[in-house]
Symmetry: C2
Subunit: 345 residues, 2 copies
């Protein structure tokens, strides 16, 4: 297995990216290709005390870098020599099995769709981060790639999320829930009602295990293993969890700072509180996979450090082994809605 990494994407590139890749090359059984400005990558390696490339690691030169201000739609054309575009082209040309970038989300999504293409039959690629829950974790799909969705998109997200959870995350028979504002199947908008009907059908055929609507309140409490949402409400869910956790962590800090005894308590509870804070920081879990592209693409967070990149490589390897494209291919008929039956576009 060979994983291509954009060495120039993100706030800490190329240093943290190279460091994470070095660790992955040593500890994981994968070959790695670092794409970016050769000189800078070698310099970063030297800083790690590495004079020659570790076994299984290569560098592919790319002189340009995608900027956070670049218009995602024009990146493929205007930044053709960037590490992101060169890396994605290598992926499309089968010079690797997966691609990781900590660069601009919009640019990566747009370039991945144009260069690596969607899995045949899949209408939209979606972002599927893994969130912490009381039951362990859950996959949220979509969380922002598609603000506007049709019921068929949601049907396909559900399938991709369930297959990913099963084949790459090792969940046995993931419980798939539809994010909604009530439990009854009449709740929500036309989008949710129609998606509910399609998901029910798919569940009756045994393709996925649909457990019905799931309310946002119950997502952190572990009510579903895969939460299906349009990109708008999925984003609201994801970001509210993040903001609430941040808010509560700050409140907790001030509780511990109150007096001598509470400061002592902070010391006693330190490891637990740190673990909780890390758990609530979903970026720590690794990157966000884009599901629906022919090959695995992992968006690592912009502020990724060495550990985050290492985790993203592990995640990419799991995604390669899961082979979502094959699973989708086998079930394509069941997750495509004839155009004339589509209600919303």
């Amino acid at each position: 297995m060979r994983i291509i990494i954009d060495a120039m994407g993100g706030d800490n590139a190329p240093g943290a990216i190279v460091a994470g890749a070095v660790r992955a090359a040593r500890e994981l059984d994968t070959e790695l290709v670092l794409v970016g400005r050769g000189a800078e990558i070698l310099q970063a390696l030297e800083k790690q005390g590495i004079a020659t490339l570790p076994k299984g690691m290569e560098v592919a030169n790319a002189e340009d870098v995608v900027d956070m201000h670049d218009d995602p739609a024009t990146v493929v054309r205007k930044r053709r020599d960037s590490s992101m575009v060169v890396g994605l082209r290598m992926l499309a040309e089968e010079k690797g099995d997966a691609f990781i970038s900590a660069g601009s989300t919009g640019a990566l999504l747009s370039a991945a769709t144009l260069i690596v293409k969607r899995i045949p039959g899949i209408r939209r690629a979606a972002m599927a981060p893994v969130l912490p829950t009381a039951a362990g974790r859950c996959v949220l799909i979509d969380c922002g790639a598609n603000a506007e969705c049709t019921p068929e998109f949601l049907l396909q997200f559900a399938c991709m999320g369930a297959f990913y959870a099963k084949r790459s995350l090792g969940m046995e028979t993931p419980r798939v829930g539809l994010l909604n504002i009530g439990a009854e199947d009449t709740k929500g908008t036309e989008l949710q009602r129609e998606a509910h009907r399609l998901l029910q059908q798919l569940s009756e055929r045994g393709t996925i295990r649909f457990i019905g609507n799931v309310e946002a309140r119950d997502v952190p409490l572990g009510a579903a293993d895969v939460v299906v949402a349009d990109g708008f409400s999925g984003n609201i869910l994801l970001k509210t969890m993040e903001g609430t956790a941040k808010f509560m962590s700050a409140q907790l800090k001030s509780i511990f700072m109150r007096n001598l005894l509470t400061k002592l308590s902070a010391l006693f509870c330190r490891s637990g509180v740190q673990k909780l804070r890390r758990m609530m920081d979903y970026r720590e879990v690794g990157g966000t996979p884009f599901l629906g592209i022919t090959k695995p693409i992992i968006k690592a967070h912009g502020s990724s450090d060495e550990l985050a990149i290492y985790n993203a490589v592990r995640q990419a390897a799991d995604a390669v082994r899961g082979d979502l494209a094959a699973a989708i291919g086998e079930n394509l008929e069941q997750i495509t809605v004839p155009k004339e039956l589509e209600h919303v576009e």
Copy 2:
């Protein structure tokens, strides 16, 4: 001022409702009317050790009770003698200035709209709970009454939220933000883009202070005083905050339970942690006002206890003093969009 209370609504009725009302009658400068089964109300009063009605408190008889399983649309017709419908009729007939119920949300919304009517020019009533934030608190409008919205609805929600925050909650010049998935005004769906344009116009006229899009992550961190959303995404925001807080509280509990020293810490931090837990339980703040009805209506939580009802009475009194209907009347022209300019319906 005279506040009408549905004595039979909610899980703890009539006991908790009557107890909260008694406390309000004693401590607040308002007259109260308890609507419901007279015999049961008097029995509940007796349990409080009260033989005769306190000064300023009355009982209005209503033999029926709205059930949680009643279809909201038929409550006015099928439950005409219920405490909820009788109370709302009294409000419409000016026998009181506000109405409080801990009964079914859907039934209350539907019956309030039919009996007490919307403020002329207002297209939809909205639910506007007050949420805890790092900056103190914020009003979220809507959070579930209207799953599908037009840009004009959001414009009106913004105005109602801002006027309510200013006139009833005492916020000086509330910062109004539009819930969206990014800061740029091109973000979101057509609904958000068009609402952004309308809100910008209203802000330029000085009617409200619009600060642009606000991301869900920044809501708990206090980025806005009034958060405007369609009922679907508002509900996702509200419920995710609730679920995340619940999840983190449980995690915190297990951190404190780990060993002898952490158990000791729990003791030291107890008052702070309890305060935090109370703060995150938005029900404690009081009820959720329905904005857009000609007179103040407060939905108290179904599990309201004595304190929650007492707080709801205080909140109802603040709402009466704020006189939202008058404020809307003065600004009606600015918050109505000519039908031919409405993009979505």
